[in-house]
């Protein structure tokens, strides 16, 4: 492993949502700060900076990860996808549209992270049960929605309906 000088900003080049982007970062700069303040990719939100809330989740080489627990210099040369890259030519994905229809977001601060986790997870688990989905969502904190509408939106977009056990 190369040692990077602590006091120096180092060039970091990533493929951000398919586009090559280069910025500079100190070795200690968090990926969340690098994306937001160096590259201006501000859709990645920061809710705790200690790895619990999930708001900062991005995909690194396809895998959903916490940008607040990742250093910018660690992703040099890698692919990073954020919620800005989900919609293609202004058309939202089916998942985004389901969030809209089901009112699965209010303030929206948690939403980007949840969408990025789902974008990764639903590839691997295309038809989750409600219990599996809730378990996966427990890696994200949302203070606005009570999660019910998020669950509904995902079950809908995966071609299922939720029968809440409670009704």
């Amino acid at each position: 492993m190369t040692a990077l000088a602590a006091g120096t900003r180092h060039p970091v080049t990533i493929t951000l949502n398919g586009q090559p982007r280069t910025g500079h970062a100190h070795p200690r700069t968090l990926l969340s700060d690098f994306l937001r303040h160096e590259l201006g990719a501000h859709s990645t939100r920061v809710g705790c900076e200690h790895g619990v809330c999930g708001a900062c989740t991005v995909r690194i080489d396809g895998v959903a990860q916490r940008a607040c627990l990742t250093l910018a210099v660690q992703v040099d040369g890698r692919r990073v996808d954020t919620v800005e890259g989900l919609a293609r030519e202004g058309r939202m994905t089916a998942l985004q549209d389901a969030f809209h229809r089901h009112h699965a977001l209010q303030c929206g601060f948690c939403t980007a992270g949840i969408l990025m986790s789902l974008a990764d997870w639903l590839v691997r688990v295309p038809k989750p049960t409600e219990a599996e989905l809730r378990d996966m969502l427990s890696g994200h904190l949302c203070r606005c929605t009570g999660y019910a509408a998020i669950v509904r939106a995902v079950m809908d977009v995966t071609g299922q309906t939720t029968e809440s056990v409670h009704v």
Binding site: H26, R28, T29, R36, A41, H42, S43, T44, R45, V46, G47, C48, E49, H50, V52, C53, A55, T82, V83, E84, L86, A87, M92, Q96, D97, F99, H100, R101, H103, L105, Q106, C107, G108, F109, C110, T111, A112, L115, L133, R134, D135, L137, S138, G139, H140, L141, C142, R143, C144, T145, G146, Y147, A148, A149, I150, V151, S164, V165, H166, V167
Partner: protein
């Protein structure tokens, strides 16, 4: 996005939100996403590690030398450029934006570093030396009442700030005549709805104009604007406050950003540069704001059938270290509805406000309601239990009857509308209470712990700006001048192309106000929603506002949307008068629909909406005489029934009151104490529902907050004032696995008070649900008293009794363990031993040689002898997510060379404080030495708040490293003596100084 049909109008339909596209695609801009001016400085705040201490001095010289640091601001600058915040109660209490000579809660701002980047600013925090003299902290209600406790504000002389006694009717007579008396005593804990986005402030000072311009995610109430302006010593017009287009939630909490607006204003003024501050999660949990903790004692005079004839209520509110505006809002917000949904004719109340060494309190979803109803509905539950009645029958017999609406409550509230009994019966029916009871009976028959709880409440919305003055006596109010009303404002404008824009002062925090306002305006003008643009980012210099502006007390649906409707209607009527001569019909006969303006009986006689709009702009001169052409209308509206408190202290504290009846079934795990919500039914009458999709979202969100408050969330403090819930791993917010989907039911009885008949809907479950769950748990366990939050630990104690303390001697050697000495604290004790390949004399020599010791102590950057057997050490310690440089004073005593010694010390860093002692013995063991250590320590500040769960393993790690080095040193070519004070080292590392 979904196309929305227009034929029957938008209001009342589940229209998806116009806000969503920006949020879902990531383009939405929150406060931290907005551009900053070139040269902006980034702020980091040094916060008090002590709950209560005199601030003796602050040495900022070293911090100023850190490259990239522009300035360090302390109480000196605060005194120079600001004045203390106004307090709602006349009391000699000075609350500055930075501590001046005393700190009163852990996390209180003490100094601000301003630097080129946040990273550098945080580095420099470590270099500030703040000196304190700790004072005894006041942490509990009992301590606050204790005349011998240290007064937080010496000029006040006591920690009881205010007491008011109220009597409404012949309470004593009613009690004398009653068959039964039932009483409860409860405490509601501190917690917070803590939004996902923390506080953000961008402040600038224009020296030429003498004015501040601040962008922040402050949510209102703008009654606090004059408080900020006063603190900054400028007229309100010189404090221009703006809000960003999006906010990441508030739930009342973002009201508490205001002291930081003033603080950053001071920083901008002192440095002459723009300043940006972004609060982090630890800061938010520790020091932003909290719901009030409340102790209540209630006693009911009850007739044999369960009717409550009179109520005696004592409420004591813990407002934290300062009574910060708008407190005592939480205590008085429900004054008009203290009797809840019940027709209880007589009432006496004693309200006390106390101060404690905790974060100041403030607005928090449902503020005051969760507390009040926790007492009232626990009482109603006890009435049923003690009289052997069905709890639902007790509720039925006491609910205000529909025929009595509007109902005047004992304390002066006016419940405006609703059929509470019909709501209840419909909830029972549609929510299948019978099925739930059958389930409970079946579970109980199997020996399981299953209970059913109920709660009935009224949900106040649109606060009377005068209710807080109920804290003053009638005499004091006369002097201060009357306060009342709840002015809302809205502006609607039509541009020359026929586009409609609406702007309001509601400062939404994610609820979807833009959508609702577009629905309202589209219906008035007969236009598609897409033609309406709603602007909610707010600017005090340009927008219409008054002190009631902002996002709190559920004022949007009732007051703001209604006011927008009034403004739009007024503007439409003006456009009708413009169009009438051209269409040759009377203005009153014109209809606005489908983008056209036409005569009611003759749709072909029409003008396009845009044509009429153009006329208002392009040909004002051709209009009929006396006709105003301006296509812009601003309306201020205040609800008629909101008067100032009467001399007899009657106050209608809110404009309207919704009704909620909840019931639920819970199962308690007998082994673990875990509470599982099996079924939850919540029935609301929130007046007219403007958008059912959004209303449901509000109820579900409020319910999730309430589940957190009932079962998981609490701001926990050690009894020495240390804050113990500084991360989301300590402050447990419910996840998707903990929040069930409630059954939501509605009845709509429009409010006669608000323009659209709407009432608030978003706060109610934070009032009804915690107590409904508590009643269910009490029912399941058959216990009289339950305490929130109902964590497995607490509930298990109700089932099995308190857990016995760890048996003595159960601590394994060499394994530090969390001490149990200070309940809830971050104390550490540990013991262990290691064999070192050197003689006791050699080990002793190493331990007593500062150079040797420094080399062995992990993270030690300096160790100087400052006196006989006294050292000053600088050590960098990391525990979990935090790292800090500790400066510690360490003394060696009980020296018995080469057999034993005691180390003791204390130190502090930006991470907090530590104090501890350790005893080390050296025992000859073959060729080597067995070093045995035993220590106790206490840590406070940030390290306790966020690293608490990791102290244990950090201690182990550091001790291990120390011994490894010592063994290497002793076994090395020079075969030097063993390591000293490893224990000291480790304690120091932990922030505990040995």
């Amino acid at each position: 996005m979904t196309a929305i049909p227009t034929q029957h109008g938008y209001v009342g339909r589940p229209v998806p939100r116009v806000e969503d596209a920006a949020l879902l695609t990531g383009s939405a801009r929150y406060a931290d996403d907005l551009p900053v001016k070139p040269g902006t400085l980034h702020a980091a705040i040094l916060r008090s590690p002590h709950a209560h201490a005199e601030l003796l001095g602050i040495d900022t010289a070293a911090a100023r030398t850190v490259p990239g640091v522009a300035a360090v601001i302390t109480g000196e600058e605060a005194k120079r450029f600001s004045s203390p915040f106004l307090v709602g109660v006349k009391a000699p209490m000075e609350h500055w934006c930075l501590a001046v000579d005393r700190v009163r809660y852990v996390g209180e701002p003490v100094a601000v570093v301003l630097a080129d980047s946040r990273y550098v600013a945080e580095d420099a925090l470590d270099r500030i030396g703040a000196r304190y003299r700790p004072l005894p902290p006041v942490m509990t209600f009992d301590q606050a009442f204790d005349a011998a406790s240290e007064p937080l504000h010496p000029a006040l002389g006591s920690n009881l700030v205010n007491r008011r006694d109220f009597t409404y009717g012949d309470v004593d007579g009613a009690f004398a005549a009653a068959n039964w008396r039932v009483s409860v005593e409860v405490e509601f804990p501190r917690n917070s709805c803590t939004p996902m986005e923390c506080f953000v402030v961008l402040a600038d000072f224009d020296a030429a104009e003498g004015g501040y311009e601040v962008l922040s995610n402050f949510s209102g109430p703008f009654a606090v604007h004059p408080v900020m302006a006063r603190a900054l010593k400028v007229p309100g017009s010189k404090l221009r406050l703006k809000s960003p287009p999006h906010s990441g939630g508030s739930f009342g909490n973002k009201q508490a950003v205001f002291p930081y607006i003033v603080l950053m204003g001071v920083c901008a003024r002192a440095t002459g540069r723009p300043v940006k501050w972004v609060e982090d999660r630890l800061e938010h949990l520790m020091a932003a704001t909290s719901a009030t903790a409340r102790r209540m004692a209630l006693e009911a005079a009850v007739a044999a059938d369960g009717r409550v004839l009179a109520l005696r209520m004592e409420q004591t509110e813990d407002c934290g270290a300062y009574l910060r505006a708008p407190e005592p809002a939480s205590l008085y917000r429900n004054h008009g509805n203290l009797t809840g949904a019940y027709d209880i004719p007589t009432l006496s109340v004693v309200n006390r406000i106390v101060l404690t060494n905790k974060t100041p309190t403030g607005l928090n979803r449902g503020f005051g309601g969760g507390q009040l109803y926790y007492g009232l509905e626990r009482l109603m539950h006890r009435v049923a239990v003690e009289l052997g009645l069905d709890p639902l029958d007790v509720i039925r017999r006491n609910l205000v009857p529909a025929a009595a609406m509007p109902h005047a409550t004992a304390s002066g509230g006016s419940l405006d509308s609703g059929d509470f009994h019909a709501c209840l019966e419909e909830a029972v029916e549609r929510g299948d209470l019978e099925g739930l009871k059958a389930k409970r009976d079946a579970a109980r028959a199997e020996g399981r712990l299953y209970g059913i709880g109920y709660a009935a409440v009224v949900e106040p919305s649109v606060s009377n700006m005068g209710y807080i003055t109920t804290v003053l006596t009638a005499e004091e109010r006369r002097k201060a001048g009357p306060k009342n009303g709840a002015q809302a404002s809205a502006t609607v404008a039509v541009d020359p192309t026929g586009g409609v824009s609406v702007s309001v002062e509601s400062v939404p925090q994610g609820q979807g106000h833009r959508t609702v306002l577009a629905q309202v305006a589209a219906d008035v003008f007969g236009l598609p929603m897409e033609q309406i643009t709603v602007v909610t980012d707010f600017d005090t210099a340009k927008d219409a506002w008054s002190i009631a502006a902002g996002n709190y007390s559920s004022r949007f649906a009732g007051a703001v949307a209604g006011t927008a409707h009034l403004a739009a209607t007024r503007l439409r009527d003006r456009m009708a008068r413009l169009a009438a001569p051209q269409l040759n019909v009377a203005a009153e006969e014109l209809v606005f629909a489908g983008g056209k303006v036409f005569a009611a009986g003759n749709p072909d006689n029409a003008l396009s909406f845009s044509r009429v709009a153009a006329a208002g702009h392009w040909s004002p001169g051709t209009l009929p005489d006396g006709q105003e052409a301006a296509l812009r209308e601003t309306v201020f509206w205040t609800p008629e029934p909101l008067k100032a408190p009467t001399d007899a202290d009657h106050i209608n504290s809110s404009a309207c009151y919704g009704f909620i009846i909840d019931f639920c079934g819970v199962e308690v795990d007998r082994d673990t104490g875990r509470v599982r919500i099996d079924r939850y039914v919540t029935m609301h009458d929130a007046g007219r529902i403007l958008n059912p999709l959004l209303a449901e979202g509000q109820i579900q969100g409020g319910f999730a907050h309430a589940v957190g408050a009932a079962l998981y969330e609490e701001y926990a403090y050690g009894d020495d004032g240390r804050f113990l819930s500084g991360t989301f791993a300590d402050y447990l917010v419910p996840t998707a696995c903990e929040v069930p989907v409630p059954v939501i039911l509605h009845r709509e009885s429009p409010s006669p008070v608000t323009p659209l008949g709407a009432k608030g809907v978003g706060e109610g479950n934070c009032m009804s649900t915690p107590v409904c769950l508590a009643n269910a748990v009490a029912d399941a366990l058959g216990v009289e008293t339950v305490t929130l939050p109902l964590t497995p630990h607490r509930v298990a104690a109700l089932i099995h009794g308190e857990e016995p303390p760890r048996p003595a001697g159960s601590t394994a050697p060499a394994r530090p363990a969390a001490a149990t000495g200070k309940p809830g604290g971050r104390g550490l004790t540990g013991e262990g031993s290691r064999a070192v390949p050197a003689t006791p004399e050699q080990v002793w020599a190493i331990l007593l040689d500062p150079k040797e010791l420094a080399a062995l102590l992990p993270g030690c950057e300096a160790l100087d002898l400052v006196g006989p057997n006294a050292y000053r050490a600088e050590v960098v310690v990391g525990v979990g997510p935090v790292r800090g440089r500790y400066v510690a004073e360490v003394a060696l005593s009980d020296l018995d060379p080469p057999n034993s010694l005691t180390l003791s010390g204390s130190g502090s860093s930006a991470l907090g404080t530590g104090r501890g002692s350790g005893h080390v013995t050296l025992e000859r063991h073959g060729d080597g030495t067995l070093v045995t250590y035993r220590y106790t320590a206490e840590v406070g500040g940030k390290v306790a708040a966020v690293g608490g769960r990791m102290l244990d393993s950090a201690a182990r790690l550091i001790i291990g490293q120390f011994f490894d080095k010592l063994i290497a040193r002793a076994g090395g070519p020079e075969a030097v003596p063993e390591r000293p004070s490893l224990l000291a080292r480790l304690l120091r590392l932990l922030g505990i100084r040995p």
